[in-house]
C-alpha cells in the first residue's frame, strides 16, 4: 500500500506543478494578507493585551492558515477533475487500495502546503520577522499548518467524492471562510468586544490553531498549554477527515 500511496503522491505533485494556476493565486492572496494586515494594523500591537509582541508575529498565523485552507481545497478539486475525466474509474479498477487512492493526493496537498508555508515564512523574514523562542517556533508553526491543512485536504477530498461535483468541492472551501474570521484573527480574545464573536471564537477549532502558533511565535517563552491544545485540535481534525475521505472513497465504488 505504501508504494501505491507514494506513486499517487508523485502523480499528484506532477499534476500540480503542471497546473501552476492551481496554487499560485492562493499563494499570492496569503502573501497579500500578510503585507496588508501588517502595514495597516501594526499599531494596534502597542495595546497592552498584545504583551509587547510584534503585530507581524501575531498576524502571520492568519496568513499561513488561510493559505493552507485555500491550498487544501485544491486537493478535492483535483480529484473531481479525475472523476470527470474518467481517470478515477481507471484507478479504481487497479488493485490499489481505496485508501492509497485518496491518501496520495492528500499527502501531495500537504507537501504543497509545506512549500507554501515556507514561502510565506520567507516573506515574513524579509519583513523583519524574529521569533523569540528560536527554531522551535518555526518548526511547531509548520507542524500545525500541515496538520490543519491535511485535515482540510481530507475534508475537500471527502466532499469531492460525495458530490462528484467541482462546484461543490469549491463551495466546501467557503465553510472555512467564517472559520478563519470568526476567531481571534486580528486581535487577542480579550480585545474582542461582541459577546457572540467571543463565543464563536471559543468553539471555533481554528482559534486553537491560531493560539497554538502564537504560543510559539509571539511569546518570549513557549506557552506549552496553548501549543498542545493546538496540536491536539490539528491532529484530531486530520484523523477525522482522513476517515471521512476514505469512507467516501469506498462509497464512491458501490454507489453511482
Amino acid at each position: 500500500m505504501w508504494t501505491e500511496t507514494w506513486l499517487f503522491t508523485k502523480r499528484s505533485l506532477l499534476t500540480t506543478i503542471r497546473n501552476p494556476f492551481s496554487f499560485i493565486p492562493n499563494l499570492i492572496i496569503s502573501v497579500f494578507f500578510l503585507l496588508v494586515y501588517t502595514s495597516g494594523l501594526s499599531s494596534v500591537a502597542s495595546l497592552p493585551q498584545f504583551e509587547g509582541s510584534d503585530y507581524l508575529n501575531f498576524i502571520l498565523p492568519v496568513s499561513i492558515v488561510s493559505g493552507a485552507v485555500g491550498g487544501a481545497g485544491g486537493t478535492g478539486q483535483a480529484l473531481v477533475r479525475d472523476i470527470e475525466s474518467g481517470y478515477f474509474a481507471r484507478l479504481l479498477l487497479t488493485p490499489s487500495t481505496r485508501t492509497a487512492i485518496v491518501l496520495g493526493p492528500m499527502i501531495a496537498g500537504m507537501l504543497q502546503l509545506l512549500v507554501q508555508t515556507l514561502l510565506i515564512f520567507a516573506v515574513a523574514f524579509l519583513l523583519g520577522l524574529t521569533i523569540p523562542v528560536g527554531v522551535a517556533g518555526f518548526f511547531f508553526t509548520l507542524l500545525l499548518a500541515i496538520g490543519f491543512g491535511l485535515g482540510f485536504a481530507g475534508y475537500s477530498v471527502g466532499v469531492a467524492l460525495k458530490t462528484r461535483n467541482a462546484q461543490a468541492a469549491q463551495a466546501g472551501t467557503l465553510l472555512f471562510f467564517p472559520l478563519i474570521f470568526l476567531s481571534t484573527t486580528f486581535v487577542p480574545k480579550e480585545l474582542i468586544e461582541a459577546e457572540w464573536l467571543k463565543v464563536a471564537a471559543t468553539y471555533n477549532p481554528t482559534t486553537y490553531i491560531f493560539e497554538g502558533m502564537r504560543a510559539v511565535l509571539t511569546q518570549p517563552e513557549i506557552d506549552w498549554g496553548a501549543l498542545s491544545a493546538g496540536l491536539a485540535v490539528a491532529g484530531t481534525i486530520s484523523v477525522v477527515m482522513i476517515v471521512f475521505a476514505a469512507t467516501n472513497a469506498r462509497g464512491a465504488l458501490t454507489q453511482k
Binding site: 506532477l14 503542471r18 481517470y87 481507471r90
Partner: protein
C-alpha cells in the same frame, strides 16, 4: 470465462438491467448490442466490479464479481465508455504508472510501456501530454492502458462511439489482433449493428435491460430468413417470365426472392437456358437491422455513425 445468471441492477426505483443471463467462452468475442439506455454500460460496470449488482450472480475468470472483486480486477482489462486518461500526464507516464499500480517494477513498467506504445502506434506522441491527442489517439492510449497487465478478459464499453470512420476501423483491427494473437476473450458493447456483425463471434441483443435474442451473427440473421437474390431486367416481360419460373411475381422490372429451395447455380442456369440476361443480379444477406426489427418490433435507430 464469463458466466452470468439473472443479473439485476435497480437504481432507486428504476430498473437498469432486468435479469440477464449469458456466458462467454474463452477466446471468444462477445458483443452486447443495443440502443442507448438498454443497460449495456450498467452490465459492464457490474461485471468489472464498479457497480454492485442488486441481485443475481456473475463470475469472471471463475471469480465472483462481488466476493472476489480484487482477483477480478487483476485479471481483467477495462476500457469504459469515457476514456480514463489524465490529460496533464504524457502517454508514457500514464502507461508506466498503470504498470506500477499492477505491481510491476519500474524497469518492467517502462519496458511494457514501450511495447504497448508500439502496439497502438503512439511511440512518436509518447512524451506529449495526452491532452494534445486526437480522439482516435486517446482511444488507442486508453486501449493500451487496459492491456498493461496482460489481462485475459477485456471489457470494451462502446469502444468506437464518437470516433470517425477511419479511427473506428483502426480500433476494430486492434481488437481483432488482440483476440487472434493473444487469445484474449473480449466482451464489448456497441450500439452499431455493423460493429457487432464485423467483430463478434456471438451477439446478444439487449433491449430495455433484457436480452431479447442471442446467437452468432449468422444465427441471428437466420431468424429473419436466409439470403435473398434480387435481379433487374431491361423490360417487364422478361422479369415476369423469370418470376413465374421461380414461382413468384415480378415488381415491374424487379424480381426478388429468398434463396431457399433453389441455389444460385440453378438460377444462373435457368437464365442461360431462356437466353435472359438480367442487368443486375445481387445476393443480399439479411442484416442485423432486420433482426432487431423482428425481435423487438422496433426499428433500430442507434446505428448511425456520429462524428465529433
Amino acid at each position: 470465462m464469463i458466466e452470468v445468471e439473472g443479473l439485476v441492477k435497480t437504481f432507486k426505483d428504476v430498473s437498469a438491467v432486468g435479469g440477464v443471463s449469458f456466458s462467454v467462452k474463452e477466446g471468444e468475442i462477445f458483443a452486447f448490442l443495443g440502443p442507448n439506455g438498454a443497460g449495456k454500460s450498467t452490465t459492464v460496470q457490474m461485471l468489472t466490479t464498479l457497480v454492485r449488482p442488486t441481485s443475481g450472480m456473475a463470475r469472471v475468470n471463475g471469480y465472483d464479481v462481488v466476493k472476489r472483486e480484487k482477483e477480478v480486477r487483476l485479471s481483467i482489462g477495462v476500457a469504459l465508455q469515457e476514456t480514463g486518461i489524465d490529460k496533464v500526464l504524457t502517454g508514457r507516464e500514464l502507461l508506466v504508472l498503470q504498470g506500477r499500480l499492477f505491481k510491476m517494477s519500474r524497469e518492467e513498467a517502462e519496458h511494457r510501456a514501450n511495447e504497448l506504445l508500439k502496439v497502438v502506434s503512439l511511440t512518436d506522441a509518447a512524451d506529449r501530454r495526452s491532452g494534445t491527442y486526437s480522439g482516435g489517439m486517446r482511444r488507442r492510449l486508453d486501449l493500451a492502458l487496459t492491456l498493461v497487465h496482460r489481462p485475459t478478459v477485456l471489457f470494451l464499453d462502446e469502444p468506437t462511439t464518437g470516433l470517425d470512420p477511419a479511427s473506428r476501423v483502426e480500433i476494430w483491427n486492434e481488437v481483432r489482433r488482440l483476440n487472434r494473437e493473444f487469445g484474449t476473450t473480449i466482451f464489448l458493447t456497441t450500439q452499431y449493428l455493423e460493429e457487432a456483425d464485423e467483430l463478434a463471434d456471438r451477439i446478444a441483443i439487449i433491449h430495455h435491460g433484457k436480452i431479447v435474442s442471442e446467437g452468432t451473427p449468422e444465427e441471428l440473421k437466420q431468424l429473419v430468413g436466409g439470403e435473398t437474390v434480387a435481379m433487374d431486367f431491361s423490360n417487364e416481360s422478361e422479369a415476369a417470365t423469370v418470376a413465374s419460373h421461380f414461382g413468384t411475381t415480378a415488381n415491374g422490372t424487379h424480381v426478388a426472392f429468398e434463396l431457399r429451395n433453389v441455389t444460385l447455380t440453378e438460377i444462373v442456369r435457368a437464365l442461360d437456358e431462356q437466353k435472359l440476361q438480367p442487368e443486375r443480379l445481387t445476393v443480399k444477406q439479411p442484416s442485423l437491422d432486420d433482426v432487431f426489427l423482428k425481435v423487438t418490433g422496433e426499428s433500430y435507430e442507434g446505428g448511425e455513425i456520429h462524428v465529433d
